[in-house]
């Protein structure tokens, strides 16, 4: 066994102390007919060979592409100090801080995390973390039902499909109802939540609404009229749940400013690697009024017997190990180390740095928009966006695939991601962040121009190299 300490002599001494001849005797309580058949697994593999095998597997993934893919997980610059802190054993090999006297580091860091995210959200209470943005949003929806004692939630169709599906799964248990709010089809507000439809859904007789969920920016990258959505929700006695992207909160109005009762979101952009989907960080925040409804651990400041300031897990009557079937949620293990990553990232980058990250992403996205439009792929919607938007490309799925051959990951082909919405069939959802380079934008625009020309029959010269600046539409 690779990590075990016991020599044959150690085992012999322990067996002798127990007065038995073989460890098999300690398993004699497993009834004969229930004993396992032979376990068949590859390995064991010595560390050197295992390391080489892991490197080979990792190398089979293509991560060198010029990527314009966002859609809920974003490429960002993370200062190396973040991972260097995460690799310290005092942090990543510690357990849940149930013994506060020997866990003040973890406890204070979570209190600080709650404070940092509370500042970003402009809300009072932040949970110590949830699994990811989707699970946090599902918990927010359940919270709205508990708090209002109502059983129906409205979710905008411009909330990430994975989040809507996760809410739907979580809702099957409680027989709760989830209705989708359609999007505006045309005009300047196209692609955002349809306020008239929302008003109709809120006004349906005998179907009171517990909560209204909308995302800012929404899945299509567009800015939503959050204040109006909140006003409509509140007028119907419903709570307002905002799904937010944390980097954007450096420059966009926060949930607390537009009247959200609960905010949820994906914390991955705060210093957490893409990692094929996890581990990420579920953000969940609310107002003081709802503190007893929020699921998950909460850390509070208190004092010790000598009056020293200290931190401790608190309001634990909401939790499963105390309340069992009456708990607010079954959550136990959370994403604590990722909450630490987010805190260290925010401390390292600071308020000005975070604003620069958001603003630089917006600037790069504007360059991308101009370059793609010049290459023949204009935006699909008219409304304002921050750093992610949809362009219209004929035969988008095939073009997306062919662009891989040019080393370009051309965002997300919406026909595959949103098969139920024909209006998006020609859409590519693309994003830029502070790490997007001018060269990547030029490559994307040039390759797209080549592919569009090729598919319209006038193509020539694919693979002829990248003319620097060509296809960029003169927006340098």
């Amino acid at each position: 066994m690779p990590y075990g300490p016991h020599t044959p002599d150690d085992r012999a001494r322990m067996l002798a102390a127990l007065g038995i001849a073989s460890v098999d005797e300690l398993f004699s309580d497993i009834p004969e007919p229930l004993r396992a058949t032979r376990l068949e697994l590859p390995g064991p593999q010595p560390e050197l060979e295992l390391a080489a095998r892991l490197e080979r597997l990792a190398a089979r993934n293509r991560v060198e592409l010029a990527s314009f893919l966002g859609a809920g997980a974003y490429r960002h610059y993370t200062p190396p100090l973040v991972d260097q802190i995460l690799l310290r054993g005092e942090w990543y090999t510690a357990y849940t801080p149930y013994q506060p006297e020997v866990s003040q580091g973890t406890l204070q860091s979570i209190y600080e995390y709650e404070s940092l995210i509370g500042e970003l959200m402009a809300l009072d209470v932040v949970s110590a973390s949830h699994y990811d943005g989707a699970a946090a949003t599902a918990e927010a929806a359940l919270m709205a039902c508990r708090a209002t004692r109502r059983e129906r939630v409205l979710v905008s169709r411009a909330v990430h499909r994975h989040y809507r599906e996760t809410i739907a799964t979580y809702f099957t248990g409680g027989a709760l109802e989830l209705d989708e709010i359609p999007l505006v089809a045309e005009g300047p507000a196209a692609g955002t939540t349809d306020l008239a439809a929302l008003e109709r859904l809120l006004g349906e007789p005998d179907r009171p609404v517990a909560g209204v969920i909308a995302a800012q920016p929404n899945f299509l990258g567009l800015l939503e009229p959050m204040a109006e959505i909140g006003r409509l929700a509140h007028a119907a006695g419903a709570l307002f749940v905002a799904v937010v992207e944390p980097v954007s909160l450096a420059v966009l109005e926060p949930p607390g400013a537009y009247g959200a009762d609960i905010a949820a979101g994906e914390g991955q952009p705060l210093g957490i690697p893409l990692g094929y989907g996890g581990p990420y960080l579920g953000l969940l925040a609310t107002t003081d009024a709802l503190v007893r409804q929020i699921p998950g651990r909460l850390i509070g400041m208190t004092t010790d017997l000598d009056g020293r300031r200290a931190f401790v897990m608190t309001l634990r009557a909401r939790e499963q190990d105390i309340r069992r079937e009456k708990a607010a949620s079954n959550i136990c293990t959370n994403q604590a180390l990722l909450a630490l990553a987010a805190s260290v990232y925010l401390a390292a980058i600071g308020p000005h740095g975070l604003r620069d990250v958001a603003a630089l992403g917006a600037a790069r996205a504007a360059e991308l928009e101009a370059a793609l439009a010049a290459a023949g792929a204009p935006r699909m919607h008219a409304g304002p966006y921050l750093n992610e938007f949809v362009v219209r490309v004929p035969d988008a799925v095939a073009v997306h695939r062919r662009l891989l051959g040019h080393g370009v990951l051309a965002g997300l082909a919406l026909a595959e991601a949103e098969p139920g919405d024909p209006s998006l069939a020609e859409g590519l959802l693309v994003c830029a962040t502070e790490v997007t380079t001018r060269e990547e934008i030029d490559l994307f625009a040039w390759a797209l121009g080549e592919e569009l020309a090729a598919s319209s029959g006038a193509g020539s010269g694919a693979g002829a190299g990248v003319p620097v600046g060509a296809g960029g539409g003169g927006v340098r």
Partner: protein, 499 residues
């Protein structure tokens, strides 16, 4: 001397000085945000702290010193399996090919990760004796919810709508009843038998046409193998219910007992316990779920599939309409799963069996060392953990388990899990794991024996413990009465948005 550092730290907000910390991100063009309507722009900036890099690093390095951790010492937490976290696995999860892969890339771009995930599913299915495994759940509790929602879907698919109850023994983890509630079931708590095992008669009385599932932890939270599990499973299936196995204690039985072979219909794995992924101060973990034939159609989507040509792909949206749906975004806590794959590969079948053998041997050895000093309420061979109790000590000295746990810190050890399971008074649930040496086990036993003597001779020393930590026992009542759940920066809150 303290087992953790002694210097308490100011908060990150108190360390902040306006104007510090810059130079990591290029400055954007002045007009970068002009496209954003004024009403949507943040009017009052977030008062985040401003620090330079050395201040940030010292803050977190010094804060970390206040933590106990597996890397600093023995962590005998029952039910938590605080085994060694191999360093190779931390390196592996950070390989750029794994760490920089976006979760929505086309499958052809992600073949390395997809292969690894598929192989991990296969390995876990073999270890659990299950037909198939989903890696999607982010933690054990989410695995439980996944499993019970599949049970619900199974009964409904058969038109069986009357099953409203989930049975759990009174020794179960709190997540079991909490999960049943979340999945829309009523929890029926069944008392344990006097020997600590499931009470077959009590279960038989509770089982019926309303029973959807029974959730069993085996070995139980007392560290005992449920010898009557075969009869119980037969009874569960006879009434048309399904059997859920909480895999929290799998570290005791690898290669010895495969839950699926024994008749369990569904189980979860805690990879942050059995398969060594680090606990991270509370997370992340991963809670893969294995199912037998009956629940196969209901697995969450997307599954990882292997094509006949040897390539791998994710299920497409809507490809399997019987699925319960998604439990989360994307595919799972992949970085955690890379570590679990590496752990299983490093051991192979023989190594995993040896893990369980050594974990069980260590627990029995420690139990043997403590017998005679502490109450051992179930004095028969245990699996990977056991309950010791301070009932007699409390009767004789007034010293409680909490006091003994706190005094252990002065001896340099993290306390075991205390007051769990709920059915034993003054319980200490002790789990040594297979990666602690005999010397460590002996030193820990010596410390507990010494504390028992102190309880008689110098009880105030134990009662007021710990004495060596940066803070003493905390005022938890005050924390709950007047919750202070976040720092309220006053300075800087009114400063205008920086340009």
């Amino acid at each position: 001397m303290s087992v953790v550092g002694e210097r308490l730290q100011p908060t990150i907000f108190e360390r902040s000085r306006p104007g510090r910390g810059d130079g990591k991100i290029p400055h954007p063009p002045k007009d970068a945000l002009e496209r954003i309507p004024a009403g949507q722009r943040r009017s009052r900036p977030a008062a985040l702290p401003e620090l330079n890099e050395p201040e940030v690093v010292r803050h977190y390095v010094n804060l970390g010193q206040l933590n106990y951790a597996v890397d600093t010492g023995f962590y005998p937490l029952g039910s938590c399996t605080m085994k060694w976290n191999p360093k190779l696995n931390e390196w592996a999860a950070r390989l750029p090919g794994f760490a920089n892969l976006h979760p929505l890339v086309p499958d052809e771009v992600a073949q390395g990760t997809l292969q690894l995930l598929w192989e991990l599913e296969e390995a876990l299915a073999e270890i659990g004796g299950m037909r198939a495994v989903t890696l999607q759940p982010a933690a054990g509790a989410q695995g439980e919810l996944t499993g019970i929602l599949m049970v619900r879907a199974y009964h409904r698919s058969r038109g069986d709508l009357e099953r409203t109850e989930v049975l759990v023994p009174d020794s179960s983890h709190g997540t079991n009843p909490a999960t049943a509630s979340m999945a829309g079931f009523r929890t029926v708590t069944v008392p344990s038998a006097a020997d600590g095992g499931v009470d077959l008669d009590a279960f038989r009385a509770a089982l019926g046409p309303r029973t959807a599932a029974v959730m069993i932890t085996n070995p139980s939270t007392l560290g005992l193998f449920e010898a009557r599990i075969g009869e119980l499973l037969a009874d569960v299936h006879a009434v048309g219910a399904l059997a859920y196995m909480d895999g929290a204690n799998l570290n005791a039985i690898m290669g010895r007992f495969k839950p699926g072979e024994a008749g369990f219909d569904v189980m979860h794995f805690n990879v942050h316990k059995t398969f060594s992924t680090p606990h991270g101060g509370g997370g992340p973990g991963a809670g893969p779920v294995g199912v037998g034939e009956k629940l196969l159609p209901f697995l969450p989507s997307p599954r990882v599939l292997r094509e006949p040509d040897g390539t791998y792909r994710l299920e497409r949206p809507g490809e399997r309409p019987t699925s319960i749906g998604r439990m989360r975004s994307f595919v799972g806590n992949t970085g955690v799963l890379v570590r679990a794959w590496a752990y299983i590969r490093a051991h192979g079948a023989a190594g995993l069996r040896e893990v369980s053998d050594d974990a069980v041997l260590a627990a029995n050895y420690l139990k043997h060392r403590l017998a005679g000093t502490y109450d051992i309420p179930y004095d028969r061979p245990c699996k990977h953990e056991f309950v010791a109790a301070a009932q007699t000590i409390r009767k004789e000295t007034g010293i409680r388990t909490l006091d003994i746990a706190k005094r252990l810190i002065d001896y340099g050890f993290h306390p075991p899990t205390i007051y769990f399971p709920l059915i034993v008074e003054e319980a200490m649930l002790i789990e040594p794991t297979e990666t602690e040496s005999r010397e460590t086990l002996d030193a820990f036993a010596d410390a507990l024996i010494a504390i028992a003597a102190e309880a008689h001779e110098t009880p105030e020393l134990v009662h007021d413990a710990p004495h060596s930590t940066p803070v003493r026992r905390l005022d938890e009542a005050a924390a709950a009465r007047q919750p202070n759940l976040r720092w309220r920066p006053t300075a800087g809150a009114e400063t205008p948005c920086p340009d």
